[in-house]
């Protein structure tokens, strides 16, 4: 197992670096195509040609795109992600203030949504075709079908404005106690769960169903094992691979895709930072954020693959 896993991790890390490089090129190219640049955005309506020229020079935007890209790349190699053009703070500092927030939100959402999705998926697979299965199916599908801004706004109207149980803003100031933490994160986490539970639950259901039709399951039943024991002891270990991948894909959404939730609850996460960066044509900051998102995605997929190896005795032996 060790050799295989080590080789996989090494190969993946190499590929990850390559992916990051390609992504950075694509992002650089695409942001270059966007109308306007950081100097024009910074000056906004008040831009005069003279000021735009001066600011472009200050930002180094008067150099050819290729030169700028190579400069950025060289700096990144030395661990320097550059300085944000829009507010003159180091990109690493901006990201490091937001990243923990994104991680906490993603972590808490994962903590709630993954067990929930597994329970729903397994339950509906065990009782496939029954009323339970159909109800769960309709419920999860309808929550994912409702746009998250609607879920979030309605939740705010009910729990914050009418009932006043929860704060309308997910504020980071009152998380010192467990109660405060729950109050702060209840609505954003609930909204995000609505979005990601369905996919994970359905993948789990499909994977479990797939195994339930296998002959070893029939054998287990013939042996006299209870349905619960069959599913938990025999089926589940064999479904870790596909489920881990579904979970990884869903969770990767929690980094970059949560911008709507971040803006409705005024949660200062990475996604809104990146949207600001794009609006301001703040290249170094856009690149920094994209690198973080991309790395997080690759890490999640790698973890899912490792989970698959660990759970599979045939792969584990090698």
């Amino acid at each position: 197992m060790k050799v295989h896993a080590q080789r996989l991790v090494a190969a993946r890390l190499g590929l990850a670096l390559l992916t990051l490089l390609i992504v950075s090129m694509v992002v650089f190219g695409i942001t270059g195509l966007l109308p306007g640049d950081a100097a024009q955005q910074a000056l906004g309506q008040a831009a005069t040609p003279e000021q735009v020229t001066a600011l472009r020079h200050q930002f180094g935007l008067d150099q050819p795109a290729l030169t700028r890209y190579v400069q950025w790349l060289v700096h990144v190699m030395t661990g320097n992600f550059g300085t944000s053009l829009s507010n003159n703070l180091p990109v690493s500092e901006l990201i490091s203030t937001r990243l923990p927030n994104s991680l906490v939100l993603a972590g808490l959402t994962a903590l709630v949504s993954v067990p929930l999705a597994l329970v729903i998926g397994i339950a509906s697979a065990m009782y496939r075709g029954s009323l339970v299965d159909r109800v769960l199916n309709v419920l999860t599908l309808s929550t994912v079908a409702v746009p998250e801004f609607l879920v979030a706004t309605i939740a705010v109207l009910i729990f914050a404005v009418k009932l006043r149980w929860l704060p309308a803003l997910s504020y980071l100031s009152d998380v010192s106690s467990f109660g405060g933490l729950v109050r702060t994160y209840a609505m954003p986490v609930m909204t995000l769960c609505c979005v990601i539970v369905a996919q994970m639950a359905r993948m789990t259901r499909a994977a479990v169903l797939d195994q339930l039709n296998a002959s070893y399951v029939e054998m287990a039943f013939l042996k006299g094992a209870t349905p619960m024991r069959v599913v938990l002891r025999h089926v589940l270990p064999n479904t870790i691979g596909p489920i881990a991948n579904a979970v990884a894909l869903s969770l990767s959404y929690l980094f970059g895709g949560v911008v709507i939730v971040e803006s409705i609850f005024n949660y200062p996460g990475l996604a809104s930072l990146m949207v600001d960066a794009v609006t301001n044509r703040d290249m170094p900051l856009v690149q920094g954020c994209v690198m973080v998102f991309c790395a997080a995605y690759l890490a999640l997929v790698l973890i899912a693959d490792l989970a698959q190896i660990v759970s599979n005795p045939r792969l584990r032996q090698r």
Partner: protein
């Protein structure tokens, strides 16, 4: 509701009232000019007026202490503590929390003295500024002329990327002429200088400041926390130069871009004051006990730009036709729910003291429009009209015009473009489009920035030598009545000959918890012209 509280009605103490009048008399440009007309030395002093500025907005005796959270519509990673870079309302409000200016605006958009104790001039070109004694920066350093010189002159450096560079270019020279005195020499006469200096971009920072990670100013609050796009927290400056102010212990400024989320945050009690409330939300807020809406009538407008670039949009008849095609009442009623004032295709709003009321109001008249379009031989070739949410209300205005266009025999096509990048890529780039101009502190500023023949933002590329002459004449005209007459003629000229259509002036709508007192309008913008922080207090 504190919507209709004129300062006179609010001041209980006679002494306070007298001081308040003195403040205005002492500082408004009207009196400056009256003094000039008399041929004497013009002296603007604000001595002993500070106690009145607090009383000016007072309904009851302000309560000390407490903290509030305020949500504005704009906050992003581009938030700044540099007054020169301020681009959006949140930036202005933040700047006024931590910095003070030489002057500040009063309820009538006149200037009253702030860090300057007096501004004196004989010819409106050379101004002698006496600084207030004993003012300290947050770090304990005393305010000195050098700080003012640095704060004002740095705007001229293009690398500073100041939003007020065009205004600052008229500062020819500023030098210290005494221990607490400096002399500003302008490139030409401008009696509006005291008003211009009240602009948030010209707030005073410490000499040599280039790093704006923190804010060391002389303002009512000291910076406790600043994270761009997240929040700004200020704590009471015990040594603030206005006695008894500010009232609150702490103010937290956050941004919530989404309007419904902003209103919800107010209604759930998470924030106590919000700005940029949509007219659609006002009924809901007013209908809930414990909340109030504050309307500030401002000179902000969204305008139809008919740019003279050689095509049909430079044609005088086409332009007139388009202005007759605007159903102004309908626009006010449907887009802004009745908030705002009807415009008459010239940029001076009715609350401005230079507004000329005699101008006949242009009304919706498709027949007249048709007549002009036929005269201009427009035909029915499609004409593109660019609109964007970036210019508030412009998409709705464009659609309303498009709907009535067939009645006047033309074929308008609305091209809706995104807000993102609108000002650099679309504004003034199309023959027919929309702009949105924020209220400016003086008639001179708005005419200079948007209508002078060589102005970079001359939206319609409208050139009139006569207008330029009048602009310069008004600037140096010491007689208030004559000045008003010139500004009146200029309004008429823009109205009859100009290339823009201004259907209406917009109101700025704020909403707040009824416990929050002391709010009153400074008709420049919402949130008391962004200066709410030092003036408000919390009723228990």
């Amino acid at each position: 509701m504190s919507i209709d509280t004129s300062p006179e009605a609010l001041v209980h103490a006679d002494a306070g009232k007298r001081l308040e009048e003195l403040t205005r008399r002492g500082a408004s440009r009207r009196n400056v000019l009256r003094a000039m007309a008399a041929g004497g030395l013009l002296s603007v002093t604000g001595a002993g007026l500070l106690s009145a500025s607090g009383a000016a907005f007072a309904q009851d005796k302000p309560k000390q202490g407490g903290r509030i959270r305020v949500a504005t519509q704009s906050s992003s990673a581009a938030d700044t503590l540099d007054p020169a870079k301020g681009a959006l309302g949140t930036d202005y409000a933040r700047a006024f929390m931590f910095y003070s200016g030489l002057t500040e605006l009063d309820n009538h958009l006149g200037a009253k003295m702030a860090l300057a104790e007096s501004l004196e001039t004989k010819d409106a070109t050379v101004w002698v500024v006496k600084l207030r004694n004993g003012v300290q920066f947050h770090d304990g350093k005393a305010l000195a002329p050098q700080d003012v010189i640095y704060s004002l002159m740095r705007h001229k450096d293009p690398a500073v990327a100041s939003k007020a560079k065009t205004l600052a270019d008229q500062f020819k020279e500023i030098k210290a002429t005494g221990p607490n005195e400096l002399t500003i020499t302008l490139t030409g006469a401008n009696a509006d200088l005291p008003v211009i200096l009240a602009d948030s971009h010209f707030l005073i920072i410490k000499d040599g400041t280039t790093d704006f990670k923190t804010a060391v100013g002389t303002g009512p609050f000291k910076l406790k926390e600043f994270s761009p796009g997240v929040r700004t927290v200020g704590v009471r400056n015990e040594k603030y130069w206005k006695p008894g102010m500010p009232h609150l212990d702490e103010v937290e400024l956050i941004g919530i871009a989404d309007e419904p989320a902003r209103v919800n945050a107010l209604m759930s009690g998470d924030v106590q004051l919000i700005n940029a409330v949509s007219a659609r939300s006002t009924e809901r807020i007013k209908g809930t006990p414990g909340f109030a809406v504050l309307e500030t009538k401002t000179g902000q407008y969204t305008d139809l730009i008919m740019r003279d670039d050689g095509g049909i949009t430079g044609n005088a008849d086409f332009r007139r036709g388009m202005t007759y095609l605007m159903d102004r009442e309908q626009m006010r009623k449907t887009i802004f729910r009745g908030y705002g004032a009807i415009g008459n295709d010239q940029p001076i709003d009715p609350s401005n003291k230079y507004y000329m009321s005699g101008l006949p109001q242009r009304a919706f008249d498709p027949d007249k429009a048709k007549f002009h379009f036929q005269k201009a031989k427009v035909g029915n070739t499609p004409i593109q009209l660019y609109a964007s949410p970036a210019a508030e209300g412009s998409v709705e205005m464009a659609v309303l015009m498009q709907q009535v266009a067939p009645q006047a025999g033309i074929n308008l096509q609305v091209v809706r473009v995104p807000s993102d990048g609108y000002w650099s890529n679309h504004w003034m780039k199309h023959p027919l489009g929309f702009g949105n101009i924020n209220a400016r502190p003086s008639a001179d500023v708005i005419f200079t920035q948007f209508f002078k023949s060589d102005a970079p933002w001359n939206e319609a590329n409208w050139k009139s030598a006569q207008f330029d002459q009048m602009l310069v004449a008004a600037r140096g005209e010491p007689d208030e009545a004559k000045r008003k007459k010139i500004y009146g003629d200029m309004q008429e000229l823009v109205h009859t000959d100009g290339g823009i259509g201004i259907p209406m002036f917009q109101s700025s709508l704020d909403a707040h918890s009824a416990k929050l007192k002391g709010l009153g309008g400074i008709p420049l913008a919402g949130l008391m012209g962004w200066m709410f922080a030092e003036n408000v207090w919390l009723e228990a």
